[in-house]
Symmetry: C2
């Protein structure tokens, strides 16, 4: 089960990413390494792509954490006591046993091995593991937790 990065994020400062986390993300470039470039054939026909990344800032110790609070929500003005306590698998916390990130981004332009995207929540230098064309998932009965509906009302 070994992974090989197929590309890397070229993005703005961490500060800018953090500031825009709740505002639809930032603009950036996904640079696919030359040896994997062929795999991009036809990707420009998708308006959105799924970006699978390795959250490289997560430490070995953080990978042992199984219970979290969605701390980033304090950016929205919430107090710690107002945030739910969650298992990592019920959250999108970057802290988790396998720090794999999933982001759906808008693909605005492809220039050879460079993908210009909007909606990134990833830092400059984040290794990319995989890309997949995005198809909207259709289901009428999607339900999200109450805490989430309430807290996200501030976004």
């Amino acid at each position: 089960m070994d992974l090989r990065p197929i590309g890397v994020v070229i993005g703005p400062s961490e500060d800018e990413v953090n500031r825009n986390m709740w505002k639809g993300g930032v603009k950036g470039i996904i640079k696919v390494y030359e040896e994997f470039k062929e795999g991009l054939l036809g990707i420009e026909n998708f308006s959105h792509i799924i970006v699978i990344s390795w959250l490289h800032k997560i430490t070995e110790d953080q990978r042992k954490i199984l219970i979290v609070k969605p701390l980033r929500m304090t950016d929205l003005g919430y107090k710690l006591s107002e945030l739910p306590t969650l298992g990592v698998f019920a959250s999108h916390s970057p802290v988790r046993p396998n720090p794999i990130g999933i982001t759906i981004v808008k693909l605005t332009k492809r220039q050879d091995n460079l993908l210009f995207v909007e909606g990134l929540d990833l830092y400059d230098g984040t290794p990319i593991l995989d890309l997949k064309g995005y198809y909207p998932y259709q289901s009428k009965d999607v339900r999200v937790p109450e805490w989430s509906k309430k807290l996200r009302s501030k976004v």
Copy 2:
């Protein structure tokens, strides 16, 4: 960049999975290993979850392939000549440099460390790398390739 399975798929026969690939997938169980069970806290409040898996049947040689045809579509009655030639990153082919699968499934029941789900396209024994609560992605301007709209009309 090492991965540790956090669970495993308990599912029906491969034959059944393949037969139902275009019919919304199969029912199965995701068994989360005891040591990671705590990470499930609150997951039952989501109707749907994102399942991130390691497509364990992909060989080292298949990980070098960058151009594919969506061969599974021959199940729908298409001839090989009717199928587009695609880069792996523009497809959801299991053949890709990092054989990571993403499936959105319906969570019908949680029983301790067992998650009963519907909509699986994974084989019995597939290692699970991560789970995340599913939030519907909202975008008005999602566009998918013409070939896909045409071919999927048979589903």
